[in-house]
């Protein structure tokens, strides 16, 4: 395509090696990811018109950690910067919107999370409804497990289907140099494990990961200075549902994913590769159905969020992986999905295309 000034592309993506327990700080991780992406495409920090990150103080337990993280940007002279308390995928959305203003042509989106400092079985109680859920210690594993149980009761999937998702993603992750969890497993072997939260077993849960990722976006013809084959964002949308999962009409489907996919124009042409952000393996089944994907789409060649799952980072990595399929792997049309909140509460869909 001949880009107009309003077309925006992903031209660079880098991630740090995922770590179960890093000794580095979040600021260190940000520095490593941002230096890597700039080095990869030959960009100087002075050329970046807008920088935005997604992270959450509660993960590492450090108040104003996002302020300390800005040390890694080199903010002398002062830069144009923003932050979202969300996955870096939503930071990327803000960068996309910022570029549409037309006064700058390069932006950087970052996601960072040092997840190993906190306990995932207790941390997310404070994310939920403070009146009806937090006093009960309602945890994210239990909420996901009840969504999984509802899916089983609906007859749309079986526990074997859940295990198949894990087996396939872990096998795919073997060829991903940035996978924390990968390997060959059998469905029967996985199904023999104990439940952590019935019907979910340990392998159905997201890994705990410390990681950062950075993406460079460019507007119009500027993209070709930085990338031979930019991944043009042809549609990006995100939708959110009620915070109490109990007032959603049917948690075995994802209305917000379907609407975001429609908003991003996902169904206008075939999708060759989709990177789906399913923190709990079975959620891939719900998202794939809600995206309207069929067997012609390859899902999660990277191993998806089961390969590494730093909260605040796993979503933007999906976008980076789907972009890489165009910039480095010759694919023409790919999709990335990111999620946030309990039981797939909020969902973002980004559709990208390469020049043909």
């Amino acid at each position: 395509m001949a880009p107009t000034e309003n077309d925006i592309a992903i031209v660079g993506f880098a991630q740090t090696a995922p770590d179960r327990r890093t000794q580095l700080t979040e600021a260190d991780l940000v520095l490593h990811a941002t230096r890597a992406v700039m080095a990869d495409i030959g960009l100087d920090k002075s050329e970046i018109g807008f920088t935005v990150s997604g992270s959450c103080d509660y993960l590492s337990g450090q108040a104003f950690s996002f302020v300390q993280n800005t040390d890694a940007y080199g903010m002398v002279p002062a830069i144009n910067e923003s932050h979202v308390e969300m996955d870096g995928a939503w930071a990327l959305y803000e960068a996309f919107v910022r570029l549409l203003q037309g006064d700058i042509d390069v932006a950087m989106a970052v996601g960072v999370g040092k997840n190993s400092n906190s306990d995932p079985s207790t941390l997310y109680t404070i994310e939920f409804d403070p009146y009806y859920l937090t006093p009960l210690g309602t945890d994210t594993w239990s909420l996901a497990a009840m969504q999984a149980r509802a899916l089983l009761e609906s007859g749309k999937a079986t526990e074997r289907d859940f295990a198949e998702v894990v087996v396939r993603n872990r096998a795919n992750a073997k060829s991903n140099p940035y996978a924390q969890v990968s390997g060959d497993f059998s469905i029967d072997e996985l199904l023999a494990a104990d439940y952590v939260r019935n019907p979910l077993r340990l392998h159905d849960l997201p890994p705990t990961t410390d990681q950062a990722a950075a993406i460079i976006l460019a507007r119009g013809k500027r993209a070709y200075d930085l990338c031979d084959r930019p991944a043009w964002i042809t549609g990006i949308d995100h939708r959110i549902e009620a915070h109490l999962p109990t007032v959603r009409k049917d948690i075995t489907t994802s209305v917000s994913t379907r609407l975001a996919a429609e908003g991003a124009g996902a169904g206008k042409a075939p999708i060759e590769v989709a990177e789906v952000h399913a923190p709990f393996g079975f959620q891939e089944l719900i998202v794939a159905e809600s995206l309207g994907l069929d067997a012609s789409t390859e899902i999660n060649p990277s191993g998806g969020a089961l390969a590494s799952h730093a909260v605040m980072v796993a979503g933007i990595i999906r976008i980076g992986e789907a972009a890489n399929q165009i910039t480095k792997n010759g694919k023409n049309r790919t999709l990335a999905h990111a999620t946030s909140g309990p039981c797939l509460q909020q969902n973002l869909v980004c559709v990208m295309e390469g020049d043909q």
Partner: protein, 340 residues
């Protein structure tokens, strides 16, 4: 880098008193009396009630409905090992429970004895705390238990007459989270130097600025700095800025009298060391431009146990504070804009 990595365990605890607003006040006041209620909105009964209809965002109003105490499980899970935040100390279930008279489920515990007792469709009933222990919070219901009699709850679906004034309008809430951080390589270097009575910085090979305490990066050039960039800096300098803190007696505050925290530009450094204490003079006499020197704790009493990644640049218990050297002050305007 140290052979073993120092870990820091810290607890994030803060109490909240949440105001409830009219809808939740009505729910809480009824709950404390042993009555669960929902609200009828858009043709369905939402229980527990919300202030706004999730479909239309309309005010849900005051068409209160008695629901429960029995209900039906639609989906569930099992918690084999409860955490410190769960209300029960033995294995239990969580479930979506649609109370009799309600159209939406609520999430609550099911104290079923064993996982095998759980199933979709099971009938359960609320088990309340003793009346004197109920405060109108969702955990006034200890848990739901398998219903002895599966028949419909008496009175469920009937209107609930709310009192003119609710007894309960606030709720105690808390945050209680435990973290385990580990000392980064730069924090480890800084702490080790403090124990030896030295202050160190890192000199950027690109801009030649010296940053104290070490951050592992030049925050001007955005490049990584490591052990090879470490240089020693003087333990004396000039006060570049200060604030007088008048302690408010919030939860956890141990200070009672006004105290000074100042930033010091060390000789040979380009970034200030912040949050330092000035010894021997009253807070009101601290000035920008004062020459000060570090007062180290005796070697045997030094400790860096509280130097974690969050307090980088702090002297921990290795530095007692800073005292005046007696040299004439420097002009304040040379220092006031030095932040970094």
């Amino acid at each position: 880098m140290a052979d073993t990595v120092q870990e820091f365990v810290f607890n994030l605890t803060f109490p909240f008193t949440r105001t409830l607003g009219s809808t939740l006040s009505t729910f809480s006041s009824a709950l404390a009396q042993g009555q669960i209620i929902g609200v009828r909105t858009g043709g369905r009964v939402i229980a527990p009630p919300l202030e706004y209809d999730p479909d239309t965002a309309a005010d849900t109003g005051t068409d209160w409905v008695r629901v429960g105490p029995k209900g039906t499980v639609s989906t569930w899970t099992w918690v084999p090992e409860p955490t410190n935040l769960h209300p029960l100390d033995h294995a239990f279930g969580f479930a979506f429970i649609t109370l009799d008279g309600a159209d939406t489920p609520m999430i609550h515990l099911v104290d079923a004895g064993s996982e095998s007792a759980m199933s979709a469709g099971m009938r359960v009933e609320a088990k309340f705390k003793a009346p004197g222990d109920c405060v109108g919070r969702i955990d006034d219901i200890i848990a739901f238990v398998p219903a002895a009699d599966p028949s419909l709850s008496e009175g469920a679906g009937e209107p609930f007459e709310a009192p003119e004034e609710n007894d309960i309008t606030e709720m105690d809430a808390y945050c209680d989270l435990t973290y385990v951080d580990n000392a980064s390589p730069t924090t480890t270097m800084w702490a080790k130097a403090l124990m030896e009575g030295r202050l160190i910085g890192q000199k950027c090979p690109q801009c030649a600025r010296t940053i104290v305490g070490p951050r592992g990066m030049c925050s001007v050039c955005a490049i990584e700095l490591d052990e090879s960039h470490v240089i020693e800096v003087a333990d004396r300098g000039v006060v570049s800025n200060f604030t007088i803190v008048t302690p408010v007696q919030y939860h956890g505050q141990t200070e009672t009298e006004p105290f000074v925290r100042c930033s010091i530009m060390l000789e040979g450094a380009d970034a200030v060391i912040a949050q330092q204490e000035i010894l021997d003079i009253p807070a009101s006499e601290v000035r920008v431009g004062m020459h000060v020197e570090c007062v180290w704790a005796p070697e045997s009493e030094r400790s860096v146990e509280d130097i974690d990644n969050r307090s980088r640049g702090s002297g921990g218990d290795a530095i007692l504070g800073w005292r005046l050297t007696g040299e004439p002050d420097e002009p304040a305007e040379l220092y006031l804009d030095r932040m970094m």
